[in-house]
Symmetry: C2
Subunit: 417 residues, 2 copies
């Protein structure tokens, strides 16, 4: 097994009502086991289109992974088309039926006829029991070809992929290894980073590929290597990583698909530091990100979202006169918020953000996108100023990223304000 295609089935994906996160997950997993994903394709819940995609990709690639269209309602037709494609009937599977019954009873949902029909599976397929939902996975597996069908509900698909598909493909994938390593940077523009790295082609020496992937969270650098063995691939990647770090190390906050809240959480836990947040324009997004990490209660004490002016005064002791004189969006108020939340929470670090998210509320001297990030710790207080003129949610992404990065650098001694 060297090549693969992913077929995602669902009108909701074609017309853009659901985003195709499944293809991304499957792509990651295939890459890990050394099977090269050549194409992902999306087709609607349409018999003819599905059949055509099955024929084209089953013939062209070694492995085909199909998701979607296995739900209990009338608009889901994938299972019937699979049976017709392999020219077999649908038969009742008792183990699947028992699983469906048990799952529904746990959730106190009554068993319906449409649920019973979920236990019908194509003859001759290997059933992949779905302990995370009611639609089973199905596998047609031979020496040359691998054809798997999984439900479209993301966490069900992920579990079936991890439990059944990945181990089987790992056994079948031979001959080459494809390895990626991602270095995540923030606080530097793509073209500046490109220039900082110097002669990239020389650095790669024809042995690897380097991609620049910018987003509102920063620029990710992805090193990709194909090699005969894992060890050979790792050696090449590590060598290139060392060269990149020697030039751009301080901008790199993680060496994988790890968010900055995760990196920072580990750092705070390791150094036994506690933190509290005071947010205005980010509206609780920073505390949300910090608490997305399991175990964050060890370092995150509390947060306040002081959206109104009086809440800044009442909760954080920011003087009314300070707000009146400098405005709620100012270096002075950011500093007072950071110091205030650190004082009331008795934490090592107080972190604050105040800014103008937009689209309204901008002024000539304080335009939409202006943000002040404040940090207070035992060594004193610092405030950084940023301009993130962007859509409201992207503004929140960028402002929270800058705030978390300021803490990371402060804790590591990479900034002295």
């Amino acid at each position: 097994m060297k090549t693969a295609a992913v077929i995602t089935i669902g009108d909701e994906i074609l017309i853009g009502q659901v985003i195709n996160t499944n293809a991304a997950f499957i792509g990651q997993k295939l890459s890990e086991v050394g099977v090269e994903l050549m194409r992902t394709v999306v087709v609607g819940d349409d018999r003819h289109e599905i059949m055509q995609a099955f024929e084209e990709y089953h013939a062209k690639y070694d492995a085909v992974l199909v998701t979607g269209g296995l739900g209990p309602t009338h608009d889901d037709i994938t299972k019937k088309v699979v049976a017709d494609y392999f020219k077999v009937s649908l038969v009742m599977n008792q183990a699947v039926l028992d699983n469906v019954r048990e799952r529904l009873s746990k959730r106190n949902v009554p068993m319906k006829r449409v649920n019973e029909e979920q236990a019908l599976v194509p003859e001759r397929c290997t059933v992949l029991m779905n302990y995370w939902g009611t639609a089973p996975g199905m596998l047609f597996d031979s020496d040359e070809k691998f054809f798997a069908v999984m439900p479209g509900v993301p966490h069900e698909m992920r579990n079936i992929m991890t439990e059944y598909i990945v181990p089987r493909l790992r056994e079948k994938a031979v001959g080459q290894v494809i390895k990626h390593r991602v270095l995540r940077t923030t606080g530097i523009a793509e073209s500046s980073l490109f220039e900082l790295l110097g002669n990239v082609e020389e650095m790669l020496g024809g042995k690897a590929k380097l991609a620049f992937l910018p987003s509102q969270f920063g620029v990710r650098l992805r090193i990709t290597v194909k090699a005969p063995t894992v060890m050979a691939a790792d050696d090449i990647i590590s060598d290139i990583e060392t060269r990149i770090r020697s030039k751009a190390g301080k901008y790199i906050y993680s060496d994988g698909e790890v968010d900055i809240e995760d990196t920072l959480g580990k750092l705070l836990a390791e150094k036994k530091l506690t933190i509290a947040t005071a947010e205005s324009c980010t509206g609780g997004y920073i505390s949300h990100r910090l608490t997305n990490i399991s175990g964050s209660s060890a370092y995150f004490n509390r947060g306040v979202v002081t959206y109104s002016n009086e809440s800044k005064t009442e909760l954080l002791g920011v003087p009314e006169e300070l707000i009146a004189k400098f405005g709620a969006v100012s270096e002075e108020v950011a500093r007072a918020m950071a110091e205030g939340v650190r004082r009331i929470a008795k934490t090592d670090i107080g972190l604050s953000v105040t800014g103008i998210a937009g689209p309204t509320g901008g002024m000539p001297d304080k335009p939409v996108g202006l943000v002040f990030v404040g940090l207070s710790d035992a060594a004193g207080s610092i405030v950084t100023r940023h301009a993130f003129p962007d859509e409201r949610l992207r503004f929140k992404d960028r402002a929270s990223q800058a705030a978390l990065e300021l803490v990371r650098r402060r804790v590591l001694g990479l900034t002295n304000g």
Copy 2:
């Protein structure tokens, strides 16, 4: 122009490091103008694969929309392949060059040679000026075929799509209209909703399709109609919507791709009600969602994220003894948090959430996923209990959704606790 395909280019999407949100957006827009998207396909940054996709889809469909691979760095090759596919050279475009220079200077980023190369465009194409980034869009347009190339950065693509592509396709799309309407429900399982609606085929009368789309936020119902005119399509959709609402109306919180925080925000603004939040396990996610809505400062006063026990006592006045007796995750503490935040913020509504997000921290009598949502207003306090055993982030989605839905129903008088 009746049919279309979308080609997304980028290794990062194939291997799952970036999720293909662009295809979803383009799918929505095509649907709106009545062009039927038949396939979306993703290929890597590989000359042969890109060329093959161009040939296949350009021949097969009326319109082809390409995104990705137009960045300034060495790994982006789309523009060269486009020029070769149309057998033309790349030429310097002065207007694009001026735009790139102006944009970089605004951001204080120095102009590099790689940036200058962004102003090279294929001969004979119509340049779609990119005022939101540095890579221009390119269009090859004839009577029968439409071939557009856009940058992969989402907000740049969205602007180019909206400004240039949609108006042109609207002129060219003829003969039929495809209309969708989405009704978003929450608080009811997919199969229960299916049964509640009764005989769906009879309801549709062969004139429309109805899809059930479940997620952690609830089940969306999508009605799809193809008709000769917009008016005819709207009539059919409205009739079906009326039938659905008569049976499942109270579960429907929005009639479009509108999040519950948006629906609720409009409701609060309209009724001139103010709200404050006290969160534990959701970590600020509820205040984040509420403040994602522009204008939310009119009704959202403040939020507190009381992660530690002492912060519940200090900020909200929850008695230590109450926490000691019933535990931080309890009906009693949820009620005291809601009442406490309403009192300190002097708002009409106080909303609280306390629960066990997991994966750790569960106990036999209080398992992972247990959540209490508290609401306090002038009429008194209510607490609802939920079980959302799920991954940490999905847990936060579900808990915050239940909390926002409780407020919606309370404000509309759909619940009396």
